[in-house]
Symmetry: C3
């Protein structure tokens, strides 16, 4: 079902059972399956797949019954990205190119996911979380609202690979920041407002507002200790005291308030 106001590039293959909202724009060479709903005002860039088949399709195509795939409103899905059946994404989602979002992923409002990031499915992402490029998020992971995962972060889920009875991803509490290339071990909890340094290997829980660095990671201080070396900022953390770009009015705590 495609309203008048939607625009679908003639090269794209959109199932007649897919539901496109008002003003949706679909670029060239997209494949949008029957189980898909795209909310009003969303952009679906070229070469994307929405509602991709889960593994049970390949085992028995005839009896495959795809779960719904719901995206938007106000989404931007950039080119060559793949969103599976069984994914639900709230308003104002934005993702980069070549992103993969597998089944059982539940994404709240205002989340952004960078190019090449791989959401392995069966995970939840809270409001306004931001995931940068090439992040690997394993299954059974919880990202609370306003967390930041920087490029090439890995959230692992298998304590003695390969296992399938013992896997469980980490939990990242609200406003926590995981810096580039860090690895967080299975079932680890990173506390609210904590900061994990670049390339750290986090094997133990991180207390709220702690700073951890190293391989393996150790607590080296509190986020209140972190300074801006070039002096441009008085206070670096909590980051929302100075970084507010892209967040709608009223969504972040007020500078000066408590989170």
């Amino acid at each position: 079902m495609t309203p008048e106001s939607a625009s679908v590039h003639p090269t794209s293959v959109v199932s007649p059972d897919a539901v496109l909202g008002s003003g949706v724009r679909v670029g060239a060479f997209c494949s949008i399956h029957a189980n898909v709903t795209v909310g009003d005002g969303s952009f679906v860039d070229s070469h994307t797949v929405l509602g991709a088949q889960t593994a049970d399709f390949y085992a028995d195509p005839a009896s495959y019954e795809p779960k719904p795939c719901r995206i938007g409103p106000g989404a931007v899905v950039r080119s060559h990205s793949v969103v599976y059946a069984g994914v639900e994404i709230d308003a104002a989602f934005e993702c980069g190119h070549h992103v993969t979002v597998r089944e059982g992923t539940r994404i709240a409002e205002g989340v952004r996911v960078g190019t090449y990031s791989d959401l392995q499915g069966n995970l939840t992402i809270g409001r306004y979380a931001r995931i940068h490029s090439n992040v690997f998020v394993s299954q059974l992971t919880t990202l609370e609202e306003f967390v930041w995962l920087f490029p090439h972060v890995m959230l692992a889920d298998d304590p003695h690979p390969p296992s399938d009875t013992c896997t469980h991803g980490p939990t990242i509490r609200r406003f926590a920041v995981i810096s580039a290339r860090a690895v967080v071990f299975p079932s680890v909890e990173v506390g609210e407002g904590a900061l994990v340094g670049a390339m750290a290997l986090v094997r133990d829980d991180v207390p709220p507002n702690a700073v951890v660095v190293g391989v393996p990671a150790r607590v080296v201080g509190s986020t209140t200790d972190v300074t801006c070396d070039d002096g441009r900022l008085e206070r670096v953390y909590p980051w929302w005291t100075h970084f507010r770009r892209g967040y709608p009015e009223g969504v972040l705590p007020e500078p000066g308030s408590d989170a």
Copy 2:
């Protein structure tokens, strides 16, 4: 050549010289070159390229003679993947999205390769090896049967980059496990049944059944020392004593036997 039982999405471009087996399904927007054979019952997802040109094509297109690209039977090639000319893949291959398999790659039966993994070519992969997401496998690498490479593992090939006379990838012996984000140095041998920890940097050969961790990696014990912290498993390694999902009957050693 496409049999009646095969189904090719009308948007796909399949060379009349490509050979598709019985029951093959080709999704939308695929490019399947003349040098390609796809075995019976295979799935080729949307936006894939099979039989991609090697570098000599760009040097002199007129005289380019592509080597064969053979996949299947029973393959699942997920969307946006690229398989080069000069690749031979046996039965029951399965790969994720955005995978790249370059020329000179020889893959035995039952191998799986995860999303964004990059097989650089001129390498061999043994039966039922499993390669997870975003793994980098350099040239002149040997993976024996039943090895596991977890997400973001890197198998390197250049001892003093850039060189072209001295490059040689590692050899990973059967049943060995390389955990997430580990790097294995050129020409290193990881012994049968060994376990490399997450984010380890492996510069020296790893004895059979040894456990190595750290940067650089050191032997810290034997796989028999590894326990399941939450007590769900009595014995963690060899992994095939408890993990058997997805392997056909009779393929893995029997629990209780020797590998």
Copy 3:
């Protein structure tokens, strides 16, 4: 504008305002926007996007005015790659599959970029620089001529993430080599001809011709100390004394001369 000598696959969508040079070949399922110029003799593989929209398009499509995207002559852009508006690339560019080149990137002659590499934009790359697979190059980075970045190198730009006033990428001086999986911190300078070891974490400036390894990286010697363990090469660095593959005649220093 497409000359007689150019060949565009009939499935591709090429804006009538795009300018394709003589002998350009465009593969299947490409999307080439109006702001694109492709130089003579270039190859554009299947499933690529040239001239992709920048973020301001999604904010207000009606008033979006794309900057030019200029590539070539003699380029090879492999499949599933995305080159943004606002990118300028000189002659003899070559890239792998699934590459992303964002706006504000200025690439000089003879540069190569590997599969899955992510150039975040607002950066400059000098002549004959070579970037291998899955390299992350942050914004405000400078790569001088003849640098090498090996697989999974990360050049970071944010000293206390997330910030937007304090971000600045590293500067890599000519002929320097960054080995696989290394991370270079924001604003760090890696000196001319220096060598960064695999998986090093570089927080401080690296002197010219120094070798640094470790987490965090420390100077362990000079490139003149590096030997070829299997004895095939007498002298390993400067690398151009023995590695000259793919460089046109006269471009590299003569072996025996100074750089």
